[in-house]
């Protein structure tokens, strides 16, 4: 009929299989979207605090090394870049170490979840729990395509869809049905599959031991809601190497913070700014070059705002700078708190004496991380970001006043000496990281195991058939 005519106005060149992980196959049917998505490999744009360049965060701010002492992030942490790099970057990061084969390495398979359209394929083939089980290295040969079409689209009609169970389960936990959302909400929710805070729950009844991916939204999405969630289940991501505090890591709560801002309040969705319409040869399509909107102000902002692009960029930078100013203060306080806590232990403090202090450190750093980790938050929701940072400073200071009193009681009544942490290297040395060994292991992995993974994947994919559409050849 006429309508299906409309639906299929594009002449499909191939029939795309459910969970087809290879973007270039989809690209045959949708060349414009595909071509533009390839541009996420462009790393030339840099903004005040974002952009697509590889930015070594530990080098830009070595204090982070202290904050994450004892945790993988102190080894290596970069500001996210384009989707095209998701696989390459997880191969390269020192956080995943240098596994020598199946069952080896520091990270679980769950780490793959947000990196590739091979994930829905695998989950479909193996089951969800099975996917999350085992080591990161166990699935290295299976997950090779960087973030792509199958992560967000239904191949049958190109409608947006949710392919990650964690988001569906998080909606369930909040008593919401994700199938009831509007089309416009979907234009943010496809992003919320990945740009969200998460943790690995190893205590799910029936799945004990499996690091099951969970978004901690049961009480809500604010910094306090998630904190109470973690406190209630006495979860911690790691124990801090210096202060011994039971820490939480906030990973990119992008969607959560975004929902508290005025753009979300007015119905603006992620895709409006990060995937605006684009015109090429008189045709409009959704720009799949997902990037900083500041590299594309005319399409991303000026649809709704008449101001000059320099002014709009200045607006963004101003909000980021204001957040940055106080976040940096908070960071300084946290570094001191960790070192002061260490000093207390060194001077013989008891667990009883330290208990309340460590809880404060946990809560203060959680607030700091929540405000920092999503990178976009200080523009997405500047007022909420500032509130969270302000609250963090209050808690950090509680800790430090208690620390000053305890230090005095332990016979030490002066500012502690600060180590030299002026560079990433010095800071890493201070916390006792042997980066050279880590680097050597990674190099070995890239020389031996990684090529095997890629070869194996190539073989497997060669076996997939991609059906040409009969009518397409007419």
């Amino acid at each position: 009929n006429r309508k299906s005519e409309a639906k299929y106005k594009y002449v499909p060149k191939v029939i795309i299989a459910e969970n087809e992980p290879r973007n270039e196959i989809w690209g045959q049917n949708f060349p414009k979207e595909y071509q533009s998505s390839l541009r996420t490999a462009d790393t030339s744009y840099v903004s005040y605090q974002g952009g697509s360049q590889m930015r070594d965060m530990l080098e830009e701010d070595p204090r982070l090394v202290i904050l994450w002492a004892g945790y993988g992030f102190s080894k290596d942490y970069n500001q996210g870049r384009g989707h095209a790099y998701a696989i390459e970057d997880i191969h390269n990061t020192l956080r995943t170490g240098g596994p020598k084969g199946e069952g080896d390495g520091p990270m679980p398979a769950t780490c793959w979840t947000c990196k590739s359209p091979d994930v829905p394929r695998l989950m479909n083939e193996k089951g969800i729990t099975e996917f999350y089980s085992g080591k990161w290295a166990d699935k290295g040969a299976e997950v090779v395509n960087s973030i792509g079409c199958a992560d967000c689209h239904d191949p049958e009609n190109m409608k947006l869809r949710i392919t990650r169970p964690a988001l569906v389960e998080a909606f369930d936990a909040m008593g919401k049905d994700i199938n009831q959302v509007t089309h416009n909400e979907m234009r943010s929710l496809v992003c919320a599959q990945c740009h969200v805070e998460y943790y690995f729950n190893k205590n799910i009844p029936g799945k004990e031991g499996v690091p099951y991916l969970v978004f901690p939204w049961e009480n809500g999405m604010t910094v306090e809601d998630m904190e109470s969630y973690y406190d209630d289940i006495e979860f911690s991501d790691w124990t801090h190497a210096l202060s011994k505090a039971p820490m939480l890591k906030a990973q990119h709560p992008g969607y959560e913070i975004f929902t508290t801002g005025v753009h979300a309040d007015r119905g603006v969705s992620c895709a409006d700014c990060h995937m605006p319409y684009k015109s090429e040869g008189g045709q409009k399509f959704t720009d799949h070059h997902i990037q900083s909107p500041l590299n594309n102000v005319s399409n991303a902002c000026q649809v709704c705002h008449r101001e000059e692009s320099t002014k709009l960029i200045a607006n963004v930078y101003e909000r980021q700078q204001k957040a940055h100013e106080n976040r940096l203060h908070l960071e300084d306080l946290l570094v001191k708190a960790h070192l002061e806590a260490k000093k207390c232990w060194d001077l013989g403090a008891t667990e009883d004496q330290m208990d309340a202090i460590l809880t404060d450190i946990r809560h203060a750093q959680w607030r700091w991380d929540y405000s920092a980790a999503s990178h976009g938050g200080s523009f997405h929701s500047p007022v909420e970001t500032a509130r969270v940072i302000g609250g963090g400073i209050v808690v950090a200071q509680e800790a430090r006043i208690k620390l000053a009193r305890l230090l005095s009681a332990l016979g030490y009544n002066e500012p502690i000496e600060m180590p030299d942490i002026s560079t990433k290297e010095k800071a890493q040395e201070f916390i006792g990281l042997d980066i050279e060994t880590l680097k050597a292991q990674k190099a070995e992995f890239k020389k031996t195991l990684l090529p095997k993974w890629l070869e194996e994947a190539k073989q497997r994919e060669a076996g997939y058939d991609s059906k040409k559409v009969a009518s397409a050849s007419n």
Partner: protein, 200 residues
């Protein structure tokens, strides 16, 4: 049977009887089909999805969907008079019948252009919503030079991208993919995943 009593059908046994049953079924079926296909009821609402029922409306739907007005103004807010209710439905019916007949006759042009009558309606509607911004001397400071500029021209001669963008025409949007009224019942979670989640 109802049909029988109405004696519409030829006598039993007649070869025509069978054929008549067949054609009647076709007619009833077709009507039903057409009504459903064109989602007749949806034309009475302000839901933009009503318009997107016709594929020729997909480009304008999609451009509106990506415009600053998406959250504020639906099609009828601009394209139907809002001065009084009679006028609103009269215009709607007239316009709707016209579109439908063009469409049914497969006479739709590649580049649809807004008719003069429609232009008047739209201009009135721009002003209806933005009346204070465009007529109050007060906002001269906020909207520099607007006062002199706005008079005597159509708003979209300057605001060219409001709301359909600069490029028009049936082929201006490549794949014409847009959510249809029926889509809202579809799930956004693929069946295999729903199953897998329930399984656990």
């Amino acid at each position: 049977m109802k049909l029988r009593r109405l004696k519409i059908l030829p006598p039993k046994g007649s070869i025509w009887r069978e054929r008549a049953v067949f054609f009647l079924a076709v007619i009833i079926g077709m009507t039903h089909f057409l009504a459903r296909e064109s989602r007749i009821t949806s034309y009475m609402t302000d839901d933009p999805q009503a318009c997107v029922n016709c594929h020729v409306m997909t480009p304008v739907y999609n451009s509106w969907m990506h415009s600053s007005h998406r959250e504020w103004a639906n099609c009828n807010d601009c394209h139907v008079p809002h001065d009084n209710i009679v006028n609103k439905y009269y215009f709607k019916a007239k316009d709707g019948l016209y579109h439908a007949s063009v469409f049914t006759a497969r006479a739709e042009p590649d580049v649809i252009e807004i008719k003069e009558a429609s232009q008047k309606v739209v201009q009135e509607n721009c002003i209806r919503c933005h009346v204070q911004q465009v007529t109050q001397v007060k906002y001269d400071g906020w909207l520099e030079d607007h006062n002199e500029n706005r008079t005597g021209r159509q708003c979209w001669s300057c605001h060219r991208t409001v709301p359909h963008g600069k490029v028009h025409g049936l082929s201006s949007i490549q794949y014409n993919i847009a959510p249809l009224p029926t889509d809202s019942n579809d799930n956004v979670v693929p069946a295999w995943l729903t199953e897998a989640i329930e399984e656990k």
